[in-house]
Point group: C2
Chain length 317, copies 2
């Protein structure tokens, strides 16, 4: 099977999007952006053995490659529209490709995203780069840099599950319901695209949680030129994580683990306002701290200062 | 040096483009498309050892990664505007990164393209994926599918140099002027962006020459539902290629070699019209054949049928 057969057989699907004037098959794709909206562009690569265990199912690899990009799009409060795929593979195994394409389109369909083009090449590693283009009302993007002192710090969903799921995966096949839940949180992260659009009108800043809560909140605070304080006992932990790990370990997974793809946002809105939007979005939104002036991120545990040091996941260290 | 330091030090540059609202540093980039224009999106990956010898200079790798995408953009007659970079590396060597960034921005600056975002990851291979977004007047893109019987088939520049240059590279350091010229044609291809815009109003179809002249013309003809005939003696060969190879080998390099990143286009315009545009564009445009009804691509040599079979470069074969 050569690269053109791969594209034809697994990736070239009909699209009903009338704003895709030219999709897969020419030198480039042509799309018609909406008048008066800005474009948001994100790109994320996942590499076998680095971002996921090499025995992760091809369908999960495909799903995850799209989901991590959707999460970046959510963090900008944008609506994802079109994606391209650069896929590097060692061999072209039909069963692998079929699973991968199924997972990829499963994520794409869930968020109404069209695959408009790509490139398939040979290499030693499995390297999957997905690039997503989305739209946002002109000037209405949600940045990392808008947080102000006295804003509250919120997170969506529960934190730490993905790291626990990855540990389960690395130690064998998940057996019980809790393990399966946690693995799924790693393999099939749910990008908070809809919730992000709902919070956009009152949030002052947002970031998605890919490198660990502590690191990512730190990035948001630094971009905003402020400091912050979070209370570790307020970090939302899932029952599944609590049953799998001691609280200390669960908090460590939440603070340093990464891969959660939940949103962290800051807002001056009252808890009532956030609660209503949380209900509308079908996603929990939990206040875990407050923005302060100065620089840095401090943690408290039961109100007492707690020294935590972690720089999250960094490539090339 | 971690990934954030790499981005800060080598890739995060000021941009004067007022349509880049958010560049490198947030979860995504925000750009403002021009009213009434369509977007063109292309993505291309180059892998060390597959698309280029592993000892190609980092500056050439950076230049080439952008140029191959610019060439796709040219084939759509679009104006490139913004790019993202997904870079997978084994190690973060400052000297390598400095050279790579210098080559990358050299190509980007030459074509007025802004780097708006990216992703840096670790892996075994050097894998460089560049994604380019460009613009074209609404509905004015140049496709592969518009060729009609009796159109003439043209190519820009000279063909076959890149393959000869790659052979030189693979057999050691180029010594003489001809070898250096040919290697440069491989390492630093000139995308025909300006020429493409000039031919767009009279060309019926276009494709860029990446996989070999025979294969790529075949794709254009197939997309247009027509056949064609080219006269091998008309294929423009550079003096440097002629001096380096026997004519037979040079023609074989042109037909099957690939990596030329010249344009092939079809048109019903007279030779006079094309000649004028060729002069304006500063690029030779040579008629090498004619579009006919039916299917397939036939070759003649001095007017006599010449059987040539080649499927160009295919991954996974």
């Amino acid at each position: 099977m050569d690269e053109f057969e791969i594209i034809r057989q697994y990736f070239d699907r009909e699209s009903a999007d009338e704003n895709v004037l030219v999709g897969i098959g020419d030198d480039g794709a042509v799309t018609r952006p909406s008048a008066g909206r800005d474009l948001v562009t994100v790109i994320d690569t996942i590499v076998s053995g680095v971002h996921f265990p090499s025995d992760l199912s091809p369908a999960d690899i495909g799903y995850r490659a799209v989901a991590v990009n959707l999460s970046d799009m959510a963090a900008m409060a944008a609506t994802p529209r079109w994606m391209t795929l650069a896929l590097t593979l060692n061999r072209a195994e039909p069963s692998w490709l079929e699973g991968f394409a199924q997972g990829l389109f499963s994520a794409a369909d869930e968020y109404d995203v069209i695959l408009i083009g790509g490139d398939t090449t040979r290499g030693n590693d499995v390297v999957v780069t997905v690039q997503l283009t989305g739209e946002v009302d002109a000037g209405a993007m949600l940045l990392r840099s808008g947080a102000s002192a006295s804003d509250s710090i919120y997170v969506t969903g529960t934190i730490g599950d993905a790291m626990a799921g990855l540990s389960v995966l690395q130690s064998g096949t998940p057996q019980d319901d809790d393990s399966i839940y946690l693995v799924n949180r790693f393999a099939r992260p749910k990008a908070r695209v809809c919730a992000a659009r709902n919070i956009a009108h009152f949030a002052s800043a947002a970031i998605d949680l890919s490198d660990g809560l502590f690191t990512d909140i730190g990035k948001l605070l630094m971009a905003s030129g402020v400091s912050g304080r979070i209370e570790l006992n307020r970090i939302p932990l899932s029952p599944q994580l609590r049953r799998t790990m001691a609280t200390d370990d669960a908090l460590r997974a939440a603070l340093g683990g990464g891969d959660d793809y939940e949103l962290c946002f800051t807002t001056a809105a009252t808890e009532d306002v956030v609660y209503k939007v949380s209900r509308q979005s079908g996603v929990a939104m939990t206040c875990i701290g407050v923005v302060e002036s100065g620089a840095g991120l401090r943690c408290t545990l039961d109100g007492k200062q707690f020294d935590y040091h972690d720089e999250g996941y960094l490539h090339f260290r």
